[in-house]
């Protein structure tokens, strides 16, 4: 076996985390992107900026604030305690919440662009064909934004796989709970286990390349509006 059981555990955790985050962001990000694409409200600008913040903030800054908010004295932390759910930091779900915030722009921005590209007309056509706004969203907007959904999904998944700083701040380094692949590589290096680090790093490298290849190989089609 090339990879140690700990490596496999870290990879599996990474995949689980990225999948969970992608599904949650699909549910949260779609309505948000739809609203950003179509609203004329003045606070659309500020909301868009907040969504984009993780693009420019150092992950450790984001992780620090999230830790404070979800910690025992933070607003979210106190709410969670009041609800009897327990604390989020240093748990899998704490990682999920942090990753959702961190990967938000990678879901919202491609979707917003795709929704904007559809324009008003197909939805007006749907309305004159008796489709309610919700009906038109699922039967016209979603199919027409299909390539936007694919791009957003792939980017979100890949970006979550690649995170490190936020994980370290929120999740720490607990095997099976919060020790994802990027942290595991860091551990290997810290322990001077360069061969182990190499193997896991190579897996990550190949994975990242394949994801980007999938994305860029599809690019010409996106231009055709297919």
């Amino acid at each position: 076996m090339l990879l140690t059981p700990e490596d496999l555990q870290a990879l599996w955790l990474t995949v689980r985390l990225a999948s969970t985050v992608t599904v949650i962001l699909l549910l949260l990000g779609t309505p948000l992107a739809w609203w950003l694409a179509r609203s004329k409200a003045w606070w659309k600008g500020p909301v868009g900026a907040v969504v984009a913040l993780p693009l420019v903030l150092p992950p450790s800054v984001l992780g620090f604030y999230l830790l404070l908010t979800m910690g025992p004295n933070g607003a979210v932390g106190q709410l969670m305690q009041a609800l009897g759910i327990g604390m989020l930091p240093f748990t899998f779900w704490g990682l999920v919440v942090a990753s959702v915030v961190y990967s938000m722009p990678f879901m919202v921005q491609p979707l917003q662009t795709a929704f904007e590209a559809i324009g008003e007309r197909p939805l007006e056509v749907a309305a004159t064909l008796r489709a309610s706004p919700l009906d038109a969203f699922f039967t016209v907007a979603v199919p027409l934004a299909r390539s936007g959904f694919l791009t957003a999904g792939i980017l979100t998944f890949a970006h979550t796989v690649g995170e490190f700083g936020v994980v370290l701040m929120i999740g720490g380094n607990i095997p099976g709970v919060s020790r994802v692949a990027s942290v595991q590589i860091y551990d290997h290096v810290e322990a001077m286990e360069y061969n182990d680090a190499h193997r896991l790093a190579a897996v990550m490298l190949v994975f990242s390349f394949l994801v980007l290849l999938a994305l860029y190989a599809r690019r010409p089609k996106i231009g055709k509006g297919a």
Binding site: A127, R130, A131, L144
Partner: protein, 356 residues
Amino acid sequence: MAGIQARFHINWPGFTLDVDLDLPAHGVTALFGHSGSGKTTLLRCIAGLERAPHGRLVVNGELWQDDTHWVPPHKRPLGYVFQEASLFPHLTVLGNLRYGMRRVVGAQRINLDAAIELLGIGPLLDRKPDHLSGGERQRVSIARALALSPRILLMDEPLAALDLHRKQEILPYLERLHSELDIPVLYVSHAPDEVARLADHIVALEGGRALACGPLVDTLSRLDLPIRLGEDTCVVLDATVAERDAAWHLARVAFPGGSLWVRDGGHPLGHAVRVRILARDVSIALHRVADTSILNCLPALVDQLAPDDHPALMLLRLKLGASPLIARLTQRSAAELRLAPGDKVWVQIKAVALVG
């Protein structure tokens, strides 16, 4: 109460719409005007795609909009044809046709089949919109609207995005609609020839106001209305084929007040046709002219004189029995012939176009 009662008031920066119309329950009503006249906005208000802040809309006795009441567009039993065909690219032709039909309670398969037949799109059903010509796309979008069994059909310049060849391809289908549909059709257009061919009624719009509203034949022949048809100032007459002259390939069409020889369009005797006579093709003589190449010389009564756009020209309205006719003359000719209302004259009509 049948028909459409539409009152809208919009005051946007740089655009106003202020209309109060009572449109007939049958036939094709053309909303005619130049771009910016408000004709498309009026149509969008009727469809509910635009919401006029002040308005009242009653269609076939159903209240669709007033100050407290608003029926959203997807609950209005209408069909809408956009200027660009706007087919859903992710669906086949049949998928497009069925999209709306599936959502109409009580829609009948028979309407879909009839619409496919009427627009001649049977061979296209499995294709994607990408693989259709512009004319085919527009025919599919008309069929898609008809498959809904709408109570009213709204068409926003369905031919404007097409080249002349494609227009000629679609016009016969629109004429079939005209003769076979028993629902009111509102047809937005800025093209006088389309209006002359298809409309029974006309609403002439300019600057967001209705300048004129009434039956096409009467409204086109009103000289007091500044409907800027310009070079295309014309009348249309509804006639029937009364005689066919096979030797010369001509047909005589009769209308209330006379008859005209036209090129034989192949219509059988008794067939209803519509002819259009441009004002510039009509000349006036005080006596019957003997040796002339012009086939159609008819006695007429001078009814009204009015100035035209250019100071050298004037428009003359005549009566051919019960039917109106407009001639465009120079002011000088009118003065030399001393034309005045009530005069008996002969009209020579150089060209008569069979338009439907």
